[in-house]
């Protein structure tokens, strides 16, 4: 067995499991202990893994393994003020007792903050949203079944026959990566798949989208504007975008990015 091949095996093992012992690698590669140690030392220098007593561990910081995929967390930090404002408006549309669908995403994630005191029937394909509502609210929570994708933070089944089809709601809330005359756009094919499952399971489709997204285009069209009932966006939206939605018969709610920003400004007089 060649050095390269052993390295490949070692890295593969380390990526699969948090720690791998030297002995395990000896078994795996049928090489001697000394060789494995040398390999680990070499890969450690190349920073392809971390060398620890007894074996090796993956390079990913062991503390952050769970909780959420990277893309989610970084995305979460941009445009938060707008997202929160939009989310607040979205929750205002709900009345207690109603059934709603919340599609996973960083904008809709903000809705959980405002749902704490509500009592709704919430169906979601987002594991973090379900978690939060379960722990910090009294809403009844339903989730779609399937594989949990850590990166996108959604639960998705490759099959068409899941419970999704059996849930019908008054409103469905979702974000998107872009919006234009052609309709709603999304980048990740996995998200498209998840969204298309839910999109026809509600009377009204409410789209939360911050105004910058009107200028973004994306490769995949999710649905036309005619399918959308309501768009919630912030006050950065242009007149032409407003007209576009108006012409398509879409109700527009403009959220004042207000409260949050205002609070930060308003230093008490006294």
């Amino acid at each position: 067995m060649h050095e390269k091949e052993r390295h490949r095996i070692i890295l593969s093992a380390v990526q699969q499991r948090p720690v791998v012992t030297v002995q395990e690698l000896v078994d795996l590669t049928e090489a001697s202990e000394a060789t494995i140690r040398r390999d680990i030392a070499a890969l450690h220098l190349q920073k392809r893994l971390r060398r620890v007593r007894g074996g090796a561990e993956g390079i990913t910081p062991p503390q952050f393994v769970g909780l959420a995929g990277r893309p989610f967390r970084v995305n979460e930090t941009i445009n938060t003020a707008q997202k929160r404002a939009n989310a607040r408006e979205a929750v205002k549309l709900c009345v207690d007792g109603e059934s709603i669908i919340i599609n996973g995403g960083t904008t809709t994630w903000q809705m959980v903050n405002f749902l704490g005191s509500h009592r709704l029937q919430v169906f979601t394909n987002s594991f973090p949203i379900a978690e939060h509502l379960l722990h910090h609210s009294k809403n009844s929570v339903m989730v779609s079944g399937g594989m949990i994708y850590r990166e996108q933070n959604i639960i998705l089944s490759p099959f068409d026959n899941d419970v999704t089809r059996n849930f019908y709601a008054q409103k469905m809330f979702m974000g998107a990566q872009g919006m234009g005359p052609l309709g709603l756009m999304e980048g990740d094919p996995l998200l498209i798949q998840a969204e298309q499952k839910l999109i026809n399971q509600a009377d009204e489709l409410v789209v939360l989208i911050d105004s910058s997204k009107f200028r973004q285009r994306s490769s995949l069209i999710l649905c036309g504007l005619d399918r959308i009932s309501t768009v919630i966006t912030d006050d950065g939206v242009t007149d032409s975008d407003q007209r576009m939605l108006e012409n398509a018969g879409v109700k527009l709610i403009v959220a004042r990015v207000g409260a949050d920003a205002r609070n930060k400004e308003s230093t008490p007089a006294a």
Copy 2:
């Protein structure tokens, strides 16, 4: 067991519960008391947990009290040593890459501690189990879809056409409320419903049950002994119970209940 792995288990334990005793960790890791103390001291220095008299506590402020329904939590405190011993044996049956089903329950919940360093495909109807595995392991996680019942901590769909039908595993692990010549028994109709959905989706059915349950009867029969491949129980099981299982062709694994129980028996000669 190696240092990193023990640390993983210890951290996993303190995140599950606010405080964990040294003895519990000894059980959990099968390491000596001295080693656990050293580990706790090390993790304390790394500020990954707080060291307290008798054990360790999580570093997170006491905000996360909610976490799960009450009945789950109180049940969790009884017979923990047995449950843990059984859970350890159960996890030992799994080999990396395999697909398994874990049915929700307080015994099977203990399995998450030992699954931290595995790489399995896990399907579960238990929200807490999915949460924990997602946050503290690299296993791939699938959940069934449906309503999340806070009391029983399971996800259950009233429909027959959910993804459950599309998942097939080598092994299914479950607990139960009682076991007798007639088969496996359960009390809560909701649990019965959940279990029956999963019970035919695996080659082998592995039942984790502490020995006291052999004397309990319950109103609802879930399945006959012939459906069960393996029973894991603790060393309190009687000869007649063993014979019963033997006659039914069920493989029996008797888990040795850890250091805790042993120390209490062994009175020093001097």
